[in-house]
């Protein structure tokens, strides 16, 4: 494999992981909860591309509408579903003073619920679907052929990062999210509404999840009811690497993880490649033990996890 291909490959995987990690990190920031269901909302967005049915051949539904309709519809749908989990599960939980353990278990329950609803409607058989056909080609630079989808993923990641940075930095909801992530109680005392700021965080998290749905399906072309699980795990790893609660750290953590796994995939001897994920999950444990504040956070803040 050519080095340029490898870099694009690594960046595209890293970008996707960073988007997931950032989505999980945003919610963790305001709620101190790792949202296990994040990956399953990505799955939900992917399945919204096809007509709900148990038939073996998937008929495209939203996936057939043309880019300018499809992209906003999927992102909007995932955002709505994400907000629904907040409104109908997490908000009542917080209203009943649920502790961290209950929230964590609840997000696990929502993850299981979504998986089984998809299983119920679509069966467990993987389905194939083609979207964004125009991205299936290659760009040739000299004698190097780069898959267009990888280049598009990198571009989309950059655009989304820019969007999130502008949102967090220059809008009122963004500032509220950042202040609530710093110190939730203090933010509330200064007039940030708890329910609203949490809903903002879930909404942005939903936009990112929807984007990942599209990028992931465009790349793989396959739907599976548990496709979101490995992505969510990558996201946890990213947030842990970046130091839980730090948004910048979550982005960098996800990016590093993606780059590391693409490099491991390319450079590990073949017999170890299958166990690559074991290394990655082992890495989480190691980071939690050795640097619970994350490898990208330099602040001397007390351990917050």
């Amino acid at each position: 494999m050519n080095w340029l291909q490898l870099i694009v490959d690594a960046l595209s995987l890293g970008g996707a992981y960073a988007l997931v990690a950032l989505g999980i990190g945003l919610v963790f920031g305001v709620m101190r909860m790792i949202n296990f269901a994040h990956g399953d909302l990505i799955t939900l967005g992917a399945y919204a591309l096809v007509v709900p049915s148990s038939a073996e051949i998937a008929r495209p539904f939203i996936g057939d509408l043309g880019v300018w309709l499809m992209v906003p519809m999927i992102i909007g749908f995932v955002t709505l579903m994400m907000l629904a989990t907040e409104r109908f599960a997490f908000r009542p939980l917080r209203a009943h003073n649920a502790d961290g353990a209950s929230l964590l278990i609840a997000s696990f329950a929502i993850s299981y619920l979504i998986q089984n609803v998809i299983l119920f409607v679509h069966t467990g058989r993987p389905k194939s679907v083609n979207i964004l056909d125009s991205l299936s080609g290659y760009i040739s630079i000299g004698d190097v052929r780069l898959p267009l989808i990888d280049v598009a993923t990198v571009a989309a990641t950059v655009v989304l990062f820019a969007f999130v940075i502008i949102f967090l930095g220059f809008t009122r909801p963004g500032r509220e999210i950042r202040s609530a992530s710093e110190d939730f109680l203090m933010a509330r005392l200064l007039g940030v509404k708890a329910n609203r700021v949490i809903a903002y965080a879930f909404a942005v998290s939903g936009v990112l999840a929807g984007a990942v749905s599209l990028l992931y399906v465009a790349k793989t072309g396959v739907l599976d009811y548990r496709m979101g699980v490995p992505l969510a795990i990558a996201g946890f790893v990213g947030t842990v690497l970046g130091g839980m609660g730090s948004l910048w750290g979550a982005m960098m953590g996800g990016l590093t993880l993606g780059i590391a796994s693409a490099l491991l995939q390319a450079l590990l001897p073949p017999e170890l490649r299958a166990s690559r994920d074991a290394f990655l999950y082992g890495l989480v444990i190691l980071v939690l033990l050795v640097r619970p504040q994350g490898i990208f956070s330099s602040s001397k803040r007390l351990e917050r996890v």
Binding site: A101, I105, A109, V117, A274, L289
Partner: protein, 351 residues
Amino acid sequence: MTDTVGKLDVPQKRALLRTWTGQVLRPAALLVLPLAALCILVSLVGASRLESIMTEALIYVVMVVGLSIFIGNSGIVSFGHVTFALIAAYASAWQTCCGPMKGIFMPDLPAWLLALQVPVLGAAVIASALAALVALLLGTMLMRLSGTAASIALLSMLFVFKTIYENWQGWTAGQSAVVGLPTYVSLWTAFAAVLLAIMIATIYRISSFGLRLRAVREDEAAARASGVNAWAQKLIAFTVSGFVSGLGGVLYGHFLGTISVSMFWLDMTFLTLAMLVVGGLRSLTGAVVGTMTVVVLRESIQVFERGIAVGDDLLKAPEGTREILLAFLLLLVLIFRPEGIVGEREAGEKR
């Protein structure tokens, strides 16, 4: 103090006896006797379908009691205890599996292990002890963590072992199943295991270790200031619960007669955790009550999934209903009764 051990005077003997009867035997009996009555009832009815449902329920009781030993006393939600069921189930398969087929399923086992046929009881104990050993070794690191970080690390532990076992072709048959394990687990074997699990959990609960760990759970800083070594106490609970969870895994394998890595995965994690939450995260009684409640609900829904004749029509719930309803049930319990059915109470405990 050691010189007085063995020559207790009469009041001391009485006090010891009272501790045992009042705090161990009585609470344990109150949990076990209803289950025993159920078992007798089931075996009197004699329907084999009912008997296997009950046996499976008892196996889940063992697993959930294992989970409860750790979660109930430490307050740390574990998403990783299925790992110990996985480890012990395979360890038991290595020792007892299927005669000549053993070398075909698991060709890389060392020669001595291939030739070995351990009696099933011994194999179950060794396998569970191996799970406990793994818990002890991993726990030395993992038990430094608490709260969300511990939960994530424990989930990562499950992922690590799942990935390793799936790729450890020569020892575990990889992604395919190992079939032909001796199916010795009947209603009464499972009951005996429940008895053992509940005794272990009760003794741990009333021991000073259990008390100290619950002090850590309530307020880690205060417990540490009072001289409790939080790490060591978590580690003890983790090891004991690893043993009991492992035992549950062994039973499950020898109940079905087949094991695969995918059996010990998110579904089982979810189911056992749901059972514990429904009953009550903080109570051993809750573990037993929750397991039986969830089993009864699941089985009743399954009756609907197979269809019930109403007049001329067949009333039939589509397949998959029970998983969805279970997830809803868990969410409802978490929102409206987060302490579970029994809360923090224990059967037979004076408040």
